[in-house]
């Protein structure tokens, strides 16, 4: 059953050929069989899943079911889920049972998608490999020596290994697109503000954005339709009534202007990855698109700018973890300061502490102008690069990451080398633009993604391009041999 497309699953569910209970049990069985080796789930919720599957079956029988009713889903462990542990893969929240649902969780409950569990991730979404999880690293289903990417590494791995048909992720600096690329699946980060941040454990609020992680672009469009929508509880939620992200899927690509920035094919890009990406762009050209050379001259300023701004926001957001209201509390605090500083020292992992510290430093007296304000100015320069480029083209294409998935342990001793794994994805978050990763081939049996970036609100166009590409290619249909 895990080899069916979502469309086939939905048709069989609606025709009564299979039930949601059977489908959900099939995935729970696969999780029991395979997740020990992959460590892609932090929490599996079999009772909740079966309860929701039964309700979905009732809807399928009484005619109130929608397209995705009865299709199970795995939520990244950053989405608050009422009554379920929501750890953000941190010791700090190891004991935290969320008392309410994130907006995204509410939306998908309304559709009737049984929750299989919560997926592993980098602690507090701060990382590019899912190795900083308190629960240990997730392994890449294509190669157990390799990382699945991060921070939504568990989500990408469960889709790649067939341990969930659909998954949710979040992307602050590349955390949907880079793991999607490393695991050979499709993932889209929508325009900032498209999906409500309510109930998502905050990392960097002016960057955080949730999106779908699926096998195909068509499936991503359907899941995004269910996730997106105005929510008054998120002060930056956008009102875009009637947006249908699946509406343009079948448009031909004739006349599409594809911008290819020279800066995305320069030093540091693995030549084999470059070949895969250029071949993918050639396929899109074959379908009638026109290639335009564009320039993003400030690309190299994006990484330092991001690593000032995101940690600065994190230092503020994560001040809520104080050992008082929820989360880890140290034993026998001798006074209030000791309670704060020791609970935080014990509850946070090394990378989270580094980012909080560096963020607090960047905001401190004497450094604010040199670091924080400077980084905000660079943010505008990076955004303006995109604005100028989109005067000449409809979308921009390039690599998602400079290399295929690296090995577990390869970059853990050198945090700044890990930061550079996101050099192509971070500019998109600085600008708040939508970006998508689509499977485009392999290098040494490790998947490679094509990155498609568009102007604000061009999600339907990005999904259209990826869908048309997937009509001509089968990279997204491939599965690692041992999980078929």
């Amino acid at each position: 059953m895990h080899n069916l497309t979502i469309k086939q699953m939905s048709e069989k569910l609606h025709a009564g050929e299979i039930t949601s209970v059977q489908l959900t049990q099939h995935y729970l069985d696969r999780i029991a069989k395979y997740d020990g080796e992959l460590n892609a789930y932090v929490t599996v919720t079999p009772e909740l899943a079966m309860e929701m599957a039964k309700q979905a079956d009732e809807r399928l029988q009484n005619g109130t079911a929608e397209l995705l009713t009865g299709i199970p889903v795995a939520h990244k462990d950053i989405f608050c889920t009422d009554g379920v542990k929501t750890s953000c893969s941190s010791k700090m929240l190891d004991n935290f049972i969320a008392p309410y649902d994130a907006h995204v969780v509410t939306q998908l409950k309304k559709v009737g998608m049984p929750i299989l569990g919560k997926t592993n991730m980098d602690e507090f979404a701060m990382g590019s490999s899912s190795e900083s999880s308190y629960y240990g690293p997730t392994r890449n289903p294509w190669d157990h020596q390799a990382v699945p990417g991060g921070s939504s590494g568990g989500a990408a791995a469960v889709i790649a290994a067939g341990l969930a048909p659909m998954a949710t992720g979040t992307d602050t600096g590349g955390s949907i697109r880079q793991p999607a690329a490393f695991c050979g699946i499709t993932g889209i980060k929508p325009t900032y503000g498209t999906v409500s941040r309510f109930g998502i454990v905050a990392y960097a609020s002016s960057f955080d954005q949730a999106g779908p992680m699926t096998r195909s672009a068509e499936e991503a469009a359907w899941l995004l339709n269910a996730m997106a929508g105005f929510d008054e509880r998120d002060s930056t939620s956008l009102q875009r009534d009637g947006a249908d992200y699946a509406a343009e899927l079948n448009q031909p690509l004739n006349g599409l202007k594809v911008g290819v920035p020279a800066e995305y094919f320069g030093e540091g890009l693995d030549p084999q990855v470059e070949k895969v990406v250029r071949d993918a762009i050639a396929e899109i050209q074959k379908q009638g698109a026109e290639i335009v050379e564009v320039s993003l001259p400030n690309k190299d300023l994006a990484v330092p700018s991001y690593y000032v701004l995101a940690p600065a926001e994190a230092s503020s957001n994560l001040s809520r973890f104080d050992g008082v209201r929820f989360g880890h509390r140290c034993e026998k605090p001798k006074d209030l300061q000791d309670l704060y500083t020791r609970s935080r020292a014990e509850g946070f992992g090394a990378e989270v502490k580094r980012r909080i510290m560096v963020g607090a430093y960047a905001l401190s007296a004497g450094f604010y102008d040199a670091y924080y304000l400077k980084a905000q100015k660079l943010r505008r320069m990076v955004r303006d690069d995109f604005t100028r480029a989109f005067e000449q083209c409809d979308v921009i294409m390039g690599p998602v990451a400079p290399t295929p998935a690296f090995n577990i342990g390869e970059k853990t001793d050198d945090p700044t080398s890990m930061y550079l794994a996101d050099l192509y994805t971070i500019p998109v978050n600085l600008a708040g633009l939508p970006g998508l990763s689509v499977p485009a081939g392999f290098v040494n049996n490790r998947p490679v993604g094509l990155h498609i970036v568009g102007p604000y609100f061009s999600e339907a166009k990005l999904l259209n391009i990826a869908h048309q590409y997937q009509q001509a290619t089968d990279w997204h249909k491939q599965m690692p041999a041992q999980y078929q």
Partner: protein, 95 residues
């Protein structure tokens, strides 16, 4: 830029994260590497560029001044490490 013990202690206070004596050197080295990354920003000419705080040019929405939250303090406090009579308990702050 290379940080020393004094700076690490200062940053530890700013971040409200205790740093053990044995950790100071490693924390200093890794934070210094990150500050080296920040130094790459210096060369960029940002004269006349307005800082950008947020991707959306959007004003904050206003809502009607009506009660929208229900009283859930028992549920929300159920995840707290220590409470009493609806209050959060912390170590004594006044002698």
């Amino acid at each position: 830029m290379s940080l020393g013990k004094t700076e690490v202690e200062y940053i530890s206070r700013l971040a409200a994260i205790a740093v053990q004596d044995g950790e100071v050197d490693e924390v200093a080295a890794k934070l210094s590497n990150i500050l080296d990354l920040f130094a790459q920003m210096e060369a960029a000419d940002t004269q006349g560029v307005e800082p950008m705080a947020h991707p959306l040019d959007q004003v904050q929405r206003l809502r009607r001044d009506v009660i929208s939250e229900t009283d859930q303090h028992e549920k929300l406090q159920s995840v707290a490490p220590a409470t009493s009579e609806g209050l959060y308990l912390v170590p004594q702050v006044i002698e």
